[in-house]
């Protein structure tokens, strides 16, 4: 079965006065119908630019998709006109952003903002759209939904606002929902509720989802498959259980080791396993392996500084871009 979304060799570069920033540099992704793909990585790794490229929401210029294809439900998105894209955005592919305060228009009631989407895409008349809007608010867990339609965004707490944004996103039953750090601005108990809500909605509406986050815990909870990004590229991809049980890429291993463990009673007395240095400048990324400068195994293979590693399938469904994944490393002689 063909995946719902297939991204092939996507390269999105920013043409700035300082030079060309290779924010996304050869990304391949596939999202199956009804499944969740988690994309994790640190700031600047290209995870949001990947999402915005799929939605074609990046300002062009300075951004430009210089190569690659984005195939969604038998259509090629990279060649569509803005007009054609408008019919897809919000209808077929919807997006939830990190900050629910800036995602909502502060000068319009949330009812107006919900009704707008329903009228534009589903052609409902005003009364029907309002009734549907109230149902949607109820579905995302907002109490007294009918009355709250006439409230402005500032009357809602952060968690409630994010519920409103989610209601707008799922209003037209999109086939793919892209959630970019949907819980980062929220407190941990509210985060848990919003993740549970997304989970429920996804099951009921049989939506596929791309969940972008910097939080390893959040992807572990919600994603079927996980892609780890570093410096504009995917460095590892696998089913979630497999990735967390048997991480292969030195960067994935290092990221997991750098996280303090909530359940470790000896954490207080220990130093954390920090990753030395910082990610490369994407104006001028290393020609070969982009993680080599921070990789504890970079000395193990002669190819590290000269040849860019390719993304290869180590086990069925488990892809790695490294010359020395964990399972291929020689045990250090004692």
């Amino acid at each position: 079965m063909a995946p719902l979304l297939a991204v092939k060799d996507l390269r999105t570069h920013f043409f700035t006065r300082a030079g060309v920033v290779r924010a996304v540099d050869g990304v391949d992704l596939a999202v199956e119908k009804g499944k969740t793909l988690g994309i994790v990585g640190e700031s600047g790794c290209g995870k949001s630019v990947t999402a915005l490229s799929i939605m074609r929401l990046l300002p062009e210029p300075p951004a430009r998709i210089v190569s690659g294809s984005i195939h969604f439900d038998e259509r090629e998105l990279t060649t569509l006109s803005q007009r054609q894209l408008e019919d897809i955005r919000g209808r077929q592919i919807a997006m939830v952003f990190q900050d629910p305060m800036t995602a909502l228009n502060p000068t319009l009631t949330i009812g107006t903002q919900l009704v707008e989407v329903l009228q534009r895409h589903l052609g409902l008349d005003k009364g029907a759209a309002r009734r549907r809007a109230a149902e949607l608010l109820e579905e995302v867990g907002i109490p007294r939904a009918r009355e709250r339609l006439d409230d402005y965004p500032h009357r809602f707490s952060g968690g409630m606002r994010q519920r409103v944004v989610i209601a707008i996103a799922v209003a037209c039953e999109p086939r793919l929902l892209i959630a970019d750090e949907p819980t980062t601005a929220l407190d941990v108990t509210v985060q848990a509720q919003v993740l549970d809500l997304l989970d429920d909605l996804q099951r009921e509406h049989r939506m596929a989802m791309i969940l972008i986050t910097h939080n390893m815990g959040v992807v572990a909870e919600s994603a079927d498959d996980v892609a780890v990004m570093y410096a504009g590229q995917i460095v590892e991809q696998a089913p979630a259980g497999e990735l967390f049980a048997r991480p292969e890429h030195p960067y994935t291993e290092a990221l997991l080791a750098a996280l303090p463990d909530l359940d470790d009673p000896r954490a207080r007395g220990r130093r954390l396993a920090a990753i030395p240095g910082r990610p490369p400048d994407l104006l001028d990324p290393p020609q070969a392996c982009r993680f080599a400068a921070r990789c504890p195994y970079a000395g193990c293979a002669d190819s590290c500084p000269v040849e860019p590693p390719i993304l290869r399938e180590l086990r069925p469904g488990h892809w790695v871009r490294s010359a020395h994944p964990a399972s291929e490393r020689q045990p250090v002689p004692a």
């Binding site: 707490s157 108990t189 848990a192 910097h214 992807v219 967390f244 990221l255 130093r271 954390l272 990753i275």
Partner: protein, 285 residues
């Protein structure tokens, strides 16, 4: 037990809510901090956790008297801070410093790194110009920041490097207590670990005492000897870190711990079950 370095007793910070244009009247109070008490021993770390709006930062500011508490007592090094004014208060503050959350907003963009780190010394008229320059170089080295960049400006550095500058500034007066208010929440995981290690090393080498404020429960566990959990201006539970994480007593702490997503599919399922069980305790957010 020796006398604690910091002893906070029944601390209250209430903000009046005023109404009316012509005849301004107080119609109520927001009880941001409402009866907080704890002791902090020399050389130890107290982790203060809670969600946004729980009163963690207000507690910190009230301890430093940056914000005058409504009632209660703050004893630091055996001295009551609540009645101190002017020069006396300034002198007392030498021994207690703060590291802020946002390394982008807490460093003056128009001052060089060297000026920023030397400012506390200058304010308190410590040393001569050459001796201050030497101190700055020493402090920057201490926090792992290359002193060669002393004449650069904050915008030229990443978040992690900026936080190192903020820590160097906090160390300049050789304080006994450092209040760390969400020092790593703006940083990426790999950088966060570097800064947490730095804080651990400095505590070990300089015998510092930390009041460590954070919303990330795993980070707090990695840093703290004792933990206090805040909710709506009150401490709902406090004690040895290990006891609280292993066997939380208050339902709020339980809900908080169960809500943390863990990158381990096996432990995660146990947590999800726990969350279902605790559902009524989750605040509607």
């Amino acid at each position: 037990m020796t006398e604690p370095l910091l002893s906070v007793c029944d601390l209250k910070v209430h903000f009046p809510i005023r109404r009316g244009l012509l005849f301004d009247r107080t119609v109520g109070h927001v009880k941001a901090v409402d009866g907080v008490s704890f002791d902090l021993q020399q050389g130890q770390t107290l982790g203060l956790v809670g969600e946004s709006g729980s009163g963690k930062s207000t507690t910190a500011h009230a301890i430093l008297q940056l914000l005058r508490p409504t009632a209660g007592s703050v004893r630091f090094g055996g001295r009551e801070l609540m009645n101190l004014r002017g020069e006396e208060l300034r002198r007392a503050r030498r021994d207690m410093q703060i590291v802020f959350q946002d390394p982008y907003a807490s460093l003056n963009p128009r001052m060089t790194v060297g000026k920023i780190v030397a400012e506390p010394l200058q304010t308190h008229r410590i040393g001569t110009r050459p001796s201050r320059r030497a101190s700055v170089a020493h402090l920057l080295e201490l926090v792992g920041f290359d002193p060669a960049y002393t004449n650069r400006y904050p915008h030229e550095f990443s978040g992690g490097q900026r936080q190192r500058i903020g820590i160097a500034r906090a160390l300049a007066l050789n304080p006994k207590l450092i209040i760390c208010d969400e020092p790593v929440s703006a940083l990426d995981v790999s950088i966060q670990a570097q800064i947490l290690n730095l804080l651990k090393d400095l505590q070990h080498d300089l015998g510092l005492t930390y009041l460590f404020i954070a919303h990330d429960l795993a980070v707090v566990r990695a840093m703290s000897d004792t933990v206090a959990v805040m909710h709506s201006g009150k401490i709902v539970e406090q004690g040895a870190a290990d006891a609280i994480y292993r066997n939380p007593q208050s339902s709020y702490t339980k809900a908080l711990l169960a809500a943390v997503p863990v990158p381990d599919p096996e432990r995660m399922n146990a947590r999800k079950a726990e969350r279902q069980h605790l559902r009524p305790h989750f605040a509607q957010g």
